[in-house]
């Protein structure tokens, strides 16, 4: 019989299920997939420029922080409330798409974090890139995004 401790140890060292090819994103139905669900919904909301769809994935008291590296080397940190963050997503003609790859998904009981390199595309062209860092908490069985912090640079992006 597997002891609880052994099960926990095993859970930590057992590699995740194989990822769908090309995206390295976890399949739905796994714990990792459950953590990614609000993040994927957030990206869908971003692509649809639907601020309500974005806000639905967020815990009300968290916030967004961007650490920007300008091409001239200037570095700035800006913190936004969710209202300020969502206000930046307005209907418009350009097509937005945020793509992440190889996310590190680390689940510690009722808290989780996702650390994932991303590229943000506008009309199919890489606009900026960096790493997305999501804090999540599980409440009443479902994961919500607590905070988002990301690095952003406009040079050296793929695509």
């Amino acid at each position: 019989m597997m002891s609880a401790l052994f099960a926990i140890l095993l859970a930590q060292v057992t590699p995740m299920q194989p990822m769908p090819k090309g995206t390295a994103l976890p399949p739905p139905g796994t714990d990792e997939g459950a953590v990614m669900a609000p993040i994927n919904a957030l990206f869908a909301g971003l692509a649809a420029r639907d601020s309500a769809a974005i806000l639905a994935q967020l815990r009300p008291d968290g916030g967004a922080t961007v650490a920007n590296e300008a091409p001239n080397g200037t570095r700035t940190v800006r913190h936004m409330t969710w209202a300020e963050f969502a206000a930046g997503v307005k209907p418009g003609p350009e097509k937005y798409e945020e793509r992440i790859s190889n996310p590190a998904i680390e689940i510690d009981g009722d808290i989780a974090m996702v650390w994932a390199p991303y590229t943000f595309f506008i009309d199919g062209k890489a606009h900026h890139c960096g790493v997305d860092h999501f804090d999540l908490a599980r409440e009443a069985g479902s994961w919500k995004i607590v905070n988002i912090t990301w690095s952003a640079r406009a040079t050296g992006c793929e695509g």
Binding site: R59, D61, G62, A104, D108, G109, I111, N147, T149, S151
Partner: protein, 151 residues
């Protein structure tokens, strides 16, 4: 200096040494925890960004949990008292990308040398005017089965 040399320099000089950055990030978290242990609000606050989020997930013995948010500054709040506090991270893991970092791992909180609660703790950090600062903290509070608690 020729333009080419400037470009070559810019391309080859990394902004920071990653190992050094990781050490600095961890030092920031440890300094904040030392402030918590010393009940020194100013010492904790020195490592916090002005606006951020503290999120606590309280785990009850029956397995249910409650999520509660507070302004980050609540993390610094301390009441004076005679008991000796000690908060410690156990083998924290650090990630850094440019101006952003995170530290996560288990922690224990001891009062007068006895572990009273523990859990998972997660720090978001950003480099603000050259210094690493804590942007958000998320942690769980468990009161049973903690490391060093004994049977």
């Amino acid at each position: 200096m020729s333009l080419l040399l400037i470009l070559a320099l810019a391309a080859t000089t990394p902004a920071e040494d990653p190992a050094k950055d990781k050490a600095k990030v961890l030092a920031t978290v440890e300094a904040a925890l030392a402030g918590v242990s010393a009940r020194d609000e100013a010492a904790v606050r020195a490592h916090l960004r002005p606006a951020g989020t503290a999120t606590v997930i309280m785990l009850a013995e029956d397995g249910t949990s409650k999520v509660r948010n507070a302004a980050l500054d609540a993390y610094a709040a301390a009441t004076p008292g005679p008991e000796k506090y000690e908060e410690r991270m156990i083998e924290p893991m650090v990630r850094v990308d440019g101006e952003m970092a995170m530290v996560r791992g288990r922690y224990t909180f001891a009062i007068d040398g006895k572990v009273r609660h523990c859990g998972q703790q997660h720090f978001d950090l950003v480099r603000d005017a050259g210094r690493w600062k804590i942007q958000n903290i998320t942690w769980t509070v468990e009161t049973v089965g903690c490391e060093g608690m004994g049977a």
